[in-house]
């Protein structure tokens, strides 16, 4: 009896984050089928699902998703590792901070998307342009959060570790890095969000393939349903990236009280 009830509550708890989405889709479908909204402006959810199915059958969608994901991943790896590296350097060494931080803070205030004209001039419209833009975009959240994470490691723990004979790499590995990790992971989540935003814009402006290209191409032929499939794909991929980051946090921060107890 009690377990059945708690099971049901558990179920509801799992489902509740999806309730607003489901309600939204239901209202949308209702509006379309009642004719309140022209299908040319916004096709019905069923129409979008149909378009998704056709694109899946033809294989177009997977080719484009693959291209976009690879771009995102490449940009994330390049920009992210640079951001992490610079953050570790400036966070750990005072001289590195004085050397780099001013410049980086200045560059940080340039929106990566403002670089698009220049990037097209430099790289043309091939892969490197998009990867470059994503790299620039994800660099700063990771840089800033890594720097902040290292600087905010508990002084008491550092003092304790030093007095227990730790220094150099062991001190870094056992105390500084794990202490900075929660902040670094916040940076990773910010970066992942930004990664998709920048990629979308870059692909929409200039691309021969990818989800952005697919949506822009659909606009030429007034295929609003395909455009919507593209937009929803971004939402799904963004959510997937977030889930991944969340999973990593859960694993790496399993010692952290706020990640325990379930």
């Amino acid at each position: 009896m009690t377990s059945a009830r708690s099971n049901r509550i558990n179920w509801l708890g799992r489902l509740s984050p999806w309730v607003p989405t489901l309600v939204l889709v239901a209202v949308w479908q209702l509006a379309s089928s009642r004719g309140w909204m022209s299908n040319r402006i916004l096709p019905s959810p069923l129409g979008v699902a149909k378009a998704f199915w056709t694109l899946t059958l033809s294989g177009d969608i997977w080719a484009n998703v693959k291209v976009s994901s690879l771009r995102a991943l490449a940009g994330f790896i390049i920009g992210g590792s640079l951001g992490l590296g610079f953050g570790l350097l400036t966070g750990s060494f005072k001289t590195m901070e004085t050397l780099f931080d001013t410049t980086l803070q200045m560059v940080r205030n340039i929106p990566p998307l403002a670089l698009i004209p220049l990037v097209i001039l430099w790289f043309g419209i091939d892969e490197s342009a998009k990867v470059f833009l994503v790299s620039v975009g994800v660099f700063f959240p990771l840089y800033l959060n890594t720097f902040h994470g290292i600087r905010s490691v508990d002084r008491g723990l550092l003092e304790m570790a030093r007095s227990y004979g730790l220094s150099g790499w062991p001190l870094y590995r056992d105390v500084i890095l794990p202490g900075a990790l929660p902040s670094i992971l916040v940076g990773v989540r910010f970066s992942l969000g930004l990664m998709w935003v920048i990629l979308i814009v870059a692909e929409t402006i200039s691309a021969q393939s990818g989800i952005g290209y697919m949506t822009m191409n659909a606009r030429e032929f007034l295929q609003t349903d395909v455009m919507l499939v593209g937009i929803l794909l971004y939402a799904l991929l963004g959510k997937l990236a977030d889930l991944l980051a969340n999973g990593l946090s859960r694993y790496w921060l399993r010692w952290h009280p706020s990640y325990q107890g379930n």
């Binding site: 570790a161 007095s163 227990y164 730790l166 220094s167 010692w255 325990q260």
Partner: protein
Amino acid sequence: MKQQGMIIQHSGRERDVVWAAVRRASLVEQGRQPGIAVQLRGVGKAYGEQTILRGIDLTIPPGELVAIVGRSGSGKSTLLRLLAGLDKVSGGTVAYDGASGAVSDNGIREDVRVMFQDSRLLPWKKVLANVALGLPRSRHHEARGVLEQVGLADRADDWPAHLSGGQRQRVALARALVHKPRLLLLDEPLGALDALTRIEMHALIERIWRANRFTALLVTHDPAEAIALADRVLLVEDGAIAMDLRVDLPRPRALGSAAFAALQDRLLRRLLQSDTAPGAEPVQDPGDISLQRSISEVRWAI
């Protein structure tokens, strides 16, 4: 609800485990490490303009357990930090075993270990890894044995966040002991614990100290704790040692005995005075000052 129940059950079990550990600790045959002799000559410490300690002369023979009491801000913790090498002296000399050298580059000695007020366990390492912190890999196996000494062998694979305050301090104690320190510095390690856990920790610390014979320095704000544990109680006041009280009670000490109560009363009175006597003149004979002070105060009151 559920969690509350767990805590209650927990502290009951904890007590049993501590007593078991206390009994065991005295039986465990340790590699005998004699304590270190500490000698301070005219030691002072100032942060910028502010003088925290001045002209401290102090000799601690090997194996002695010394308690330092004083009001907050009196400089008692600073004195401990100087001995630990966490801070550098501004003047005077600190000598260990008669030699003032023999410290590593960062001023930390390998045979001196500190137990802090907060346990300062690394939250991302399990209990056993915390105890083994700073040990060379070849000695990692010793961590489990010491954890057993403090009665927490069964919690070796837990995260520190899952331990109670008393358990955390016992892990911190194990972490210090595994290095076989010749001087153990305890910076109000029991300040945040409840009364019962404190009494159990007193017994644990006393037994481990007696089994290992290291020199120990305990900073505390609690006169009863000082007298329960120490061979000698130092009162630090306005950056100087104002009283040096020898405690010659037999161990283990009965907290309720008349001699205990008399010493505690004397210490407490002297501590309370240190507030009412601002800018007190240098003390010539620390042993009897409490009596003189109280007489002069009574006369003033009349």
